[in-house]
Amino acid sequence: MRIFFGYFLLYFGAAFLFLGAFGLIRLPDLYTRMQASTKSTTLGAFSSVLGVGILMPHWFVKCLVVAFFILLTAPVSSSALMRAGYKTGVPFDKKRTVVNKGKEFFSEKKEKEEGK
């Protein structure tokens, strides 16, 4: 039972890791690719690591720490990268995109409150 569940999680993770990479190829523009990659690979790595933790019960705590770190760090880099892409004007798929409030958001006021 434990082994079954562990392998289930492993394969679940592998499927999503693959899916993230596949979405990376298939989706039309940077932002949607980013959606796919961030979500799917994070969950994929998370559940693979947990699967290993369940297969080897002694390792569970450490695997949990790895998984926690993945959850903690993935959004930080992706948001920074996405904002960078947006600001430098990486084109988005004009046909499909329905609403773009980014200009409004960034031009609201000059960035000066930053710093601390």
Partner: protein
């Protein structure tokens, strides 16, 4: 939200670091525990200013309890998000309707907003790009509502209740 006193934050940092030391070493041998205390005390000297603003207030029972409930809910949302994503990627017609929308949040603390942003990033169809004061710029892969209020309800509604309690 005013800052807690230095000592308060220091103690909080030491506790957090010590717990994570125990998790990282994944053992309860005495020597590890002793060294863990020393290391956490030393590391906390340099970092208590960064980790937290509210200090020990994070550790009230109610908050911890909500955190415990929140984590499974959050994980469930992550899994849902991925099935959603899988559908959008694999479906031949590729049902996406992306857009950048602004949402509004009532959370006041920095860590609260960070948690909200992280949650949004990893949940169905949305990815936070930037946070400014009480507004978040979100990339939404299937825009359902273009107005601020509607989008806020659709995206943040699931988490804000929890996060308000957890991070004040």
């Amino acid at each position: 939200m005013e800052k807690a006193s230095k000592f308060n934050r220091y103690v909080f940092t030491v506790i957090v670091l010590y717990v994570s030391w125990i998790l990282i070493t994944a053992t309860t041998r005495t020597d590890e525990l002793i060294v863990g205390i020393i290391v956490s005390l030393l590391v906390a000297i340099g970092t208590y200013d960064y980790l937290s603003i509210q200090g020990l207030r994070h550790l009230s029972l109610k908050r911890l309890w909500f955190l415990v409930i929140y984590i499974p809910y959050y994980l469930w949302q992550v899994i849902l998000a991925n099935f959603d994503m899988a559908y959008r990627v694999l479906a031949p017609s590729m049902p996406i309707k992306p857009g950048f929308v602004i949402v509004h949040t009532d959370l006041k603390t920095d860590s609260g907003k960070l948690a909200l942003a992280n949650s949004i990033t990893l949940t169905p169809g949305t990815l936070t790009m930037d946070v400014k004061d009480d507004k978040l710029l979100v990339h939404w892969i299937y825009v359902k509502d273009r107005t601020i209020e509607g989008a806020t309800h659709e995206i943040c509604g699931r988490f804000e209740g929890f996060l308000k309690v957890i991070f004040g």
